[in-house]
Every structure is written in C-alpha cells, then in structure tokens.
Amino acid sequence: MNPGVLSAGSRGLGLAEQARMVVQPGRPEAATPTPVRAARPQARRGLVARWLDWRFSSWTSPLLVLAMWIAVTQLALAPEQILVPPWQVLVSGWELVQSGELGEHVSVSLVRLVSGFGFGSVAGIAFGLLVGLSPRLDDYTAPTFQVLRQIPSVALIPLFILIFGIGETFKVAIVAKASFFVVALAVHEAVKSLPARYLEVAAVLRFSRLQVIRRVVLPAIVPDTLTGVRIALGRSWMVLVGAELLAAENGLGQMMEMGRQMFRLDVVMVGVVLTGLVGLALDRGFRLLEAYLMRWQRR
C-alpha cells in the first residue's frame, strides 16, 4: 500500500530525530520562546538538564538496556543458552540475512501486515464515517461494536483458526480485525466531535450532503484519523507476530517459535530485536507521512 512507509522505515534509527524535525520543524533553531530553564546561566544548570539538552540524549535508554544486557551475560547471571550475548545475536542475525531466511520471514510478515492492515483500516474509516454521520445507524450497531471492540485480538486467534483455517486468510483476518476497531473508533469520535459551527457554515453555503462530507467532514477528521491509524498499525504488528507464533509456515513470529523449539535462543533474540525495530520503523515512518499530510496546518 504505502511504499513510502517501508522505505522511510528502512533508513534506520536516525528517523526518530528526523521525524521530530519534520513534525515540529524549526523548533531547535527558530525563534520560539526559549523555556525559562534554558535561559539560566550555563553554570547553574544541572547535569541532568544539560544531558537532556544534548542532541544524542535520546540514546540514553537504549544504551542503558544494551549495557545491562552485556553486563548480565558477562557476569553469567543467566545461562548462556537462555540469554545470548548481543554480539552472538548480531552474528546469528547476519547468518540469517546471508542465508536469505531473515529476508523471507520479514517480507512475508510485512505482506501480511500490509494486506490485513489495508483491509482493516479502510473498512474502519468507512464504518467510522457511516456511524459518525448517522446517529440512527450508530444506535443500531453500538452495542455489538462496543462488545466486539473489547475482545483482545490475541484471544480470538483460536476462533479465527477454526473459521478461516491456518492459511493466509486467518492471519490477514486477525490483522484486519485488530486495525478495524481502533480506526473505526478514532474516526467515529472525530466525526462526532466535529464543531457544530462547521456544519452551520456548510448549511449557510447550502452544501449538498456529499459536499458536506467531501469539503467539511473529511478534511476536519484527518488529524484524528491519522493518529488512530498509526496506533492501529502498531497493534496490528503485535497481533500479527503473536498469530505467527501460534500458526504459520513462515514469518518473523514463526522464526522465533521455531528458534525456541530448536533451542536456539539467539534466533529468538534476533526476532525480538527485529520485531521491535520494525515496529519502531513503522511508527516513525507513519509519523513522517502524517507530518507530510498535515503540512497545510502549519501555514
């Protein structure tokens, strides 16, 4: 669906910084009023404050986690078969890349994510719009919607296997389910909280119903919808990896499950790290897209 998301994501971690720059352009250098704290003389500022102002300070927690990981493996606090040292994970990861296995697993997972998420979010936007615009439809569907929304997607995996079998359909369906409810809810709320004066203006201008939707509603709900879609993307990724752990021939989750069965916890760790990085990249990539789509707001 969205090649921009993937390629931006694959550019790596620098995205965090980049995304922030795009979302809040010019914040570091522009003439925004500097916080009082920063205005104090340099010497009076605490070490913590100066640390936090440093441009690489966002690396603090990842590096601390890494340091702890290294310390635990060096001191042999956990058996080497269970907690593999980071470089071993790197070596295993590289081996998996070279054998082409990792690429295959990741791409299969991403295809599932993209298709399921595509279906789910499009359906979610459509449903959210419908119930948002039609209070009567909302009354009819609300009880069912609210009940189904509360069921964790992971808990539905066994049921979905029974209905859809263990093939691709089931994985796409569970991802679609995970994204549908989040998106539908966000859109619904956005439409409902639309200021009444917008619609009054539209009435004064004698807009047709279609024009109201096209010119007023849709542009107004973009920010909330994008936030909902971004949250849904993260959810979908987690649910997908969980579903793959249980039943799949390939994919990142299955690679981890297989690694566990083969007692290769290094492979499991490769999967864990990669799942996190892919999730982060998807999120950051989506933020970039969000900033791009919302650029009109900054004018």
């Binding site: 566990r260 069965q261 083969m262």
Partner: protein, 359 residues
C-alpha cells in the same frame, strides 16, 4: 542438668562426642559437594480426573513405589517432581535444564540431541520405557492412503519433538524428503484442530491420533507399530551431566529406582498395573490398549534399560538427521551422551543382570 558446671569434664566429653562426627564428616566429605536440598525430576504430567497432577509412564511407578523418596529422605534430600505438559515437553525441559531448575527429566530423543548440540550437557541415565508409537492421520474424508499420496500437501508436525525423526524415516523409506511436503509447525493441539478442520492435509503425532479417529474427524493411515524397532521414538531418563558428576550417589539412587520400576512392569501383573496408572492419569483404557495392539515389539524388550549398540546407532542417526534437517547447527558427537555406569550398578545391586540379557 542444673548441677553440671559450665566447663565440667562431663560436658566437655559430651561436647566433643557431639562434635567429633560432625568434624569427621566435614573432613571426610570435603572432596564431595554438599548435598542439594532437593532432587528434581521433570516428567510428563496430565491433570487427572480429580484435578490432581498425575505423572505418566515409569515416573508414575517410581513415584508410587516411594522407594526413591524414602532413600533420598534418609540423606535429607527432598524428591520433587516437576510437571511438564504434553504440549511442549521438549522446550520446557530444555529450558529447565538450561536454567538449572531440574536435575533429571524423562523425555525424548530429538530434544536431547538439540539440547546437547546447543551446549547444554545432559546424559542418558536409564534407557527404555518408551511405549509410544507414532501415527499419520488424515481428515476422515481424505483419499490419501499412504504418505506417497501426500506429496506437495500440508502436513502438521511439531518440529523438534521426538516424533519428527520417525516421520523423516517414513518419508525417506518412500523416497521422499521434507521438500516434497509442506510442513506446518503446529503443536499437537493446534495440529489436531488443523486436520479436523481440513486446513492441514495430514497430521503426524502420537496416540492422540486415536482421539481424532474416535471423533470421526480423522483416520490413521500409518503407524509405527509394524515399523522396524529403530523407527520408534525414544523417551527415557536424562540427567544433567554436572549433577551426575557432583552427586553420583544421588544419581545412583535415581537410576536404581527407575530400574526397579522397569523390573516391576515386566514382572507378574506389571502390564496390568501399568495400564492402571495410565488410566489414573487420565488416559482411557481403550486408548492405551489400542496403542499396543498389533505392536511387533516384545514387551520385555521395550523396558530393557540397556545401552545396546542399537540404542547408540539410534542416537547417532538422530543426530545426523538433526544436522541434515538443520535442527542443529553443528555436528554432535553422540558417544558422550551416555552414562551407563548407574544402570550397570543398579542391575548388579538388584541382581537383574539376566533379566534383560543383551539380545
């Protein structure tokens, strides 16, 4: 008592009498490690009808005989049974061995090979006692009659479990490899529902195959009953090598207890008694009997706790398969996997050298 002054000769005598054995024992046992507070054995368990955890196989007999618990008790060591569920015995036991939360486990051949290839050190202590056959099940309405009809089809198999090796042999005997079928890595429960719902074309598993047949959702088209003996999966008693080295006297007690259990099973009423245990642990009697019906192997031989050349060949072939199937990354020297000294000692102690004379 009150009349005895603090440093009276009587008191000194009493004190030294009390301290002497303690001192002696400290100097005498210095070389050996202090005994652990508990000895932990992992065994497959089911939740029985009464909600109690019940163990399967020879571990149930060892637990019932009570001899091991009593002997360990004399040394101040508690016997602890660690239950593992049929769903993922292999993973649970290997992880427990790795984080040192068990000392012994009764479990399968392939998981032990995988564990040792990844750097764990375990050894086979008491062989024999595995009564499992393996089965190939297809959906009830399937036309497949043999593995050959399943070429290119989806077969559910939990990878790395002891029944994977028999499956590989079945494929090989029919001139096929794993590339000729699509393997779905599913645990036994998921595999059963996959074949029942028809989303897998076949399912390779243990005696839970009969349950599918009874529910009329599956039919068995192959079993290992008539297959050569070395096609059968093995599940036997393994010990943590470090524990065996540190506490040989405790390991000896464990080995002796299991050999005693094997002895009772092959003795009078042993078979009946064994079935009774399996039934108590939640298996149906019909299922246990069907599992053994038409099995070509001699009952006595299945319980032989002997390190035979066939056993060694089985593990060597298993390790070779594991490497070829890329279950393990490096070759494994299986000759280091055996600790036969405990069984030899037990057989001598119990005067059973001739019960299972090497065939």
């Amino acid at each position: 008592m009150t009349s005895v002054p603090p440093y009276s000769p009587q008191r000194r005598l009493a004190l030294s009498a009390a301290l002497l054995p303690a001192l002696l024992s400290i100097t005498g046992v210095r070389a050996a490690e202090p005994l652990p507070p508990a000895l932990r054995i992992a065994a497959v368990s089911r939740t029985g009808p009464s909600g109690k955890t019940l163990f399967a196989g020879s571990s149930a007999l060892v637990a019932e005989q009570g001899w091991l618990a009593a002997e360990l008790g004399k040394l101040g060591v508690k016997l602890e049974w660690v239950p593992v569920t049929t769903n993922s015995v292999a993973v649970q036991v290997n992880e427990a061995f790795a984080n040192r939360s068990i000392d012994f486990a009764q479990y399968g051949d392939l998981p032990s090979i995988i564990a040792n290839a990844s750097g764990l050190r375990t050894q086979l202590v008491v062989p024999g006692g595995s009564m499992n056959n393996t089965y190939l099940v297809v959906p009830a309405n399937s036309n497949a009659r043999s593995i050959k009809d399943l070429k290119g089809k989806k077969i559910a198999l939990h990878r790395g479990r002891p029944w994977e090796f028999p499956f590989a042999r079945l494929l090989a005997a029919n001139g096929m490899t794993q590339k000729d079928v699509r393997i779905l890595n599913l645990n036994p429960q998921a595999g059963a529902s996959a074949v029942a719902s028809g989303s897998a074309d076949a399912f390779f598993t243990l005696s839970d195959a009969f349950l599918l047949e009874d529910k009329k959702v599956g039919k068995i088209i192959w079993s290992s009953k008539q297959a050569p003996q070395d096609w059968k999966m093995r599940a036997e008693l393994w010990g943590d090598s470090a524990f065996l080295e540190k506490h040989p006297q405790l390991a000896q007690l464990v080995a002796t207890a299991y050999v005693k259990a094997h002895q009772s099973v092959v003795g009078a009423n042993g078979r009946e008694n064994y079935i009774r245990h399996e039934v108590a642990a939640g298996q149906s009697r019909a299922l246990v009997e069907r599992e053994w019906e038409g099995d070509a192997t001699n009952w006595n031989a299945r319980w032989a706790p002997l390190f035979t050349p066939e056993l060694r060949a089985h593990y060597a072939a298993g390790a070779a398969y594991a490497q070829q199937a890329r279950l393990i990354g490096r070759p494994l020297d299986t000759s280091r996997l055996y600790a036969p000294q405990f069984v030899e000692q037990a057989l001598a102690q119990l005067k059973l050298q001739n019960l299972w004379a090497s065939r």
